[in-house]
Amino acid sequence: MSLQDFLQFVFAGITSGSVYALTALGFTLIYNATGIINFAQGEFVMLGGLAAVSLHSGGAPLALAAIGAVAVVTVVGLLFELLAIRPLLNASVLAQIIVTVGASLALRTAAMLIWGREAVALPAFTEGAPLSVFGATVVPQTVWVLGVTALIVIALQVFYRRTLLGKAVRACAVNPMAARLLGIPYGRVVLLTFGASAAVAAAGGVLITPISFMSYSSGALIGLKGFAAAILGGLGSPAGAVAGGLALGLLESLSVGLLPWSGASGYKDAIAFLILLLVLFARPQGLLGQVSAQKV
C-alpha cells in the first residue's frame, strides 16, 4: 500500500471516528451522572443535523442555524428528562434505560413526520478545495469536526475536574444517595446533564451533516457506533470516549484498507466489533476507563 493510500485510510478513519467520538461523549455525560445508557443519543445527533438544515433553508446564516439547532435540541433533551426520566428517577436504572429506547423510536418517528424520509444536506462551514497531505486528501469540514470535538473535550475535562458543579455531578454518579445527603440537588444535576448531552450530540449532528447528510433514520447507526466507542474507550471517561471513537473509526477504515481481498468493506463492522470484544476481555473497564473497586 502506498503512503498516500495509507494516509487516506487514516483520514477516513478520523472523519468517521470523530463523529463516533462526539456521540460517545454524549453517552458518557449521561452515564457519568446517572448510570443511564441513553439510547436516544443517536436521535439527538440526527435532530441536530435536521434542525440546522431547516433553520438554514429558512434563511438563517449558517452560524446562527448551527447555534439555533443546538439550542433547539438542548430544549428537547431537557424536556425528555422532565417528561420521561424524572418520573422514573427513583425506579431502577434498567427501567430508565428502557424509557430511552422508547424515546428513540418516538423521536425517530416524529422526525420522519416533520422532515420526511429524504436525506438533506447542509453547506460546508468553510468553502474550499480538499487539503492535501502527501497526496491524501481531507475536506476542511473534517478539520472543523476535529477542532470542535477537541474544544468540547477540553471544556468537559475542565468542568468535571475544576468546577464545584462538575465535582457535584461526579459525586452523583458515584453515589446518588450520599450526594443528596450532602445537599447536592440531584434532580437538577440530572436535568443539566441531559441538556448538556443533547447539546453535544446536536453539535455533532450539525458538524457532520455537510459531510454525510442527514435523514430521520441516520441516528440508529450513529448511536450504535457511538455506544460501541464509549464502551471501547471506557464508559464514564470523556477522554476515553474520544479515544474510543477515533479508535473505532480507524479500525473500520484500516480493516478495509489492510485486508488484501476485494469486498473487505463488508467485514469491517465484524472486525471492528471483534477487536472491541478482545479489548474488553483484556481490559473490561475499556481503554481509558477506571476500575471501579467493589468490595464483596
Partner: protein, 414 residues
C-alpha cells in the same frame, strides 16, 4: 453493568438491522416530469372506452396489497393514490365488460406477514378476481404461493429477480423493470458508450445493492467487462473514502454505484474529494431529485438507468407518449403531486389486467391468465409490455433510458 452493555448492543443491533431491510425496492422516487395538457385515455381497452354507459351489475373486484405505511411508504403511498384514481377512471369510462370495477386496497405496513393475511382476505372475503402487489419484493414473494395455489392472477409492482425467475410463475406477472434489466442497461452503456473494460462496483449492503452486485458479477463478462474491485457500505454511513481508496488502487476505468440515497451521494462527493475522475455510473436508485440536491456539484456527469417517465420527452412510441402524458396530467389533477415511478407501476398493473379482461371477455382466472400471456404491445409508463407463457416480465432493455445529470437536471445520455 455487563448486563446493561449486552442488552444495549442487542437492542442497537436490532434497531440498526431493522432500518437496513426497509429499502429493499426503494429505487426511483420523485419522478419530476413535465406537465402536459392532454388529459384522459389511459388504457387502450377498446373503442367502447369512450362511450359513457354507466356500468351495472356485480362489481369486478381487484385486490391490491401496497405498503402505504411503514418504512416502504415512500414507495407505496403513490401506488395507493394511483389505484384509487384508476378505479374512478375505469368506472367513469364504463367499467369492465359493462360491470363496475372495485379496487380493494390493503396496507401491508411494509410487512410480508401482513401481506399474506391481506391476500387471503382479498381472495376469500372480497372475491378478488386478480391481485395487484406487493410494493416490496419480500411481500410479493410471501404472497406468491397463495395466488399460485388459488390460481388467481397476480401482477406485482416489485423488482427482485426471484419473483419471476423462480417457479411457479404461471400466475405471476411483473410491471417494473426487474433488477437484471437495469443492470443490463447500465452495463450496455459502460461497454458501448464509455468503451471501457475494467469496472469497479460500490454497492449498498441492503437487498437492493446486493442484488445489483450479484447481477453485475453474473453478467459483466457478457459485456466484455471485468469487475476489478467491489466494496460495500451501509445506507447511512458517514464517509466512503475508505472503500473508494481501496477501489482506486485497483485502477478501474469506471465506477458502478448501486444503492439508494444517501449513500450514492456521499460516494459522489467523496470521489470529488479524492480527485477520482473516472466515470460514475449509478443505479435507478438515484433517479430522483434527492440525489441531485444532496450531491450538488458532485452529481454533474453522473449517468444512471431509468424508466422513460423520468424524461417523458424521450418517449418515441406515440401510443406510449399519449398514455404517459395522460397519466401524469390525471395524477396531478387528482393528487396535486407529480407521479413517481411507483405510481407508474400501479397504473401498468391495473391497465394490463383491465386490458386482459376486456380481451378475455370473462373474469374466469384461466381466461385472464391466457389473455395476460397474449399481451402484446401494451404501452404504459414502465414501457411496452409483451408477455408470453414463458416471459412474465414483459419489458426489454430498450424500455429503459440512460440519463445524465447536467446543470442540476436530467438529460438523455445516449
Amino acid at each position: 453493568m455487563a448486563l446493561v452493555v449486552v442488552l444495549g448492543l442487542l437492542l442497537f443491533a436490532g434497531l440498526g438491522c431493522g432500518s437496513d431491510e426497509t429499502t429493499t425496492d426503494e429505487t426511483t422516487e420523485d419522478t419530476a416530469a413535465s406537465t402536459d395538457t392532454s388529459v384522459g385515455e389511459s388504457s387502450d381497452t377498446s373503442e367502447a372506452g369512450d362511450e359513457v354507459a354507466a356500468p351495472t351489475g356485480e362489481p369486478i373486484v381487484f385486490g391490491a396489497v401496497v405498503s402505504a405505511t411503514g418504512p416502504a411508504a415512500a414507495l407505496g403511498e403513490q401506488e395507493r393514490d394511483a389505484l384509487e384514481m384508476l378505479e374512478g377512471q375505469l368506472n367513469d369510462r364504463g367499467g369492465l365488460l359493462g360491470r363496475p370495477v372495485e379496487i380493494v386496497i390493503e396496507d401491508d405496513q411494509s410487512n410480508p406477514n401482513e401481506a399474506v393475511t391481506a391476500t387471503n382476505k382479498l381472495i376469500q372475503q372480497d372475491g378478488a378476481v386478480a391481485i395487484i402487489g406487493g410494493t416490496i419484493s419480500p411481500s410479493t414473494l410471501a404472497m406468491k404461493p397463495i395466488t399460485a395455489r388459488e390460481g388467481i392472477p397476480q401482477v406485482t409492482m416489485s423488482a427482485a429477480n426471484a419473483i419471476t425467475d423462480e417457479p411457479p410463475i404461471e400466475w405471476m406477472w411483473r410491471t417494473p423493470p426487474k433488477d437484471a434489466l437495469a443492470v443490463a442497461r447500465a452495463l450496455t452503456h459502460v461497454s458501448e458508450e464509455l468503451g471501457v473494460t475494467r469496472i469497479a462496483v460500490l454497492h449498498d449492503e441492503n437487498a437492493f445493492g446486493s442484488s445489483g452486485l450479484s447481477e453485475i458479477e453474473k453478467s459483466a463478462a457478457d459485456y466484455g467487462l471485468e469487475v476489478v474491485a467491489k466494496e460495500s457500505y451501509k445506507t447511512d454511513e458517514t464517509d466512503l473514502t475508505a472503500p473508494l481508496t481501496k477501489i482506486r488502487s485497483s485502477e478501474p476505468e469506471a465506477l458502478v454505484v448501486w444503492g439508494t440515497n444517501p449513500g450514492p451521494a456521499v460516494a459522489a462527493k467523496n470521489m470529488d474529494q479524492l480527485g477520482m475522475d473516472i466515470p460514475y455510473v449509478g443505479s435507478h436508485g438515484i433517479a430522483n431529485m434527492t440525489f441531485i440536491d444532496l450531491a450538488g456539484e458532485a452529481a454533474e456527469g453522473v449517468v444512471f438507468p431509468a424508466g422513460k417517465m423520468l424524461i417523458p420527452e424521450t418517449i418515441t412510441d406515440p401510443a406510449q407518449k399519449e398514455v404517459v402524458e395522460g397519466f401524469i396530467a390525471a395524477f396531478e389533477e387528482a393528487t396535486g403531486q407529480k407521479p413517481n415511478t411507483f405510481a407508474g407501476h400501479a397504473f401498468d398493473s391495473v391497465g394490463l389486467l383491465a386490458d386482459a379482461i376486456e380481451r378475455a371477455g370473462t373474469t374466469e382466472p384461466g381466461d385472464i391468465q391466457q389473455a395476460l400471456n397474449e399481451t402484446t404491445g401494451w404501452a404504459g409508463p414502465d414501457g411496452i409490455f409483451n408477455y408470453s407463457e414463458t416471459d412474465h416480465d414483459g419489458l426489454e432493455v430498450d424500455d429503459l433510458i440512460m440519463v445524465r445529470i447536467e446543470g442540476g437536471s436530467w438529460v438523455l445520455a445516449e
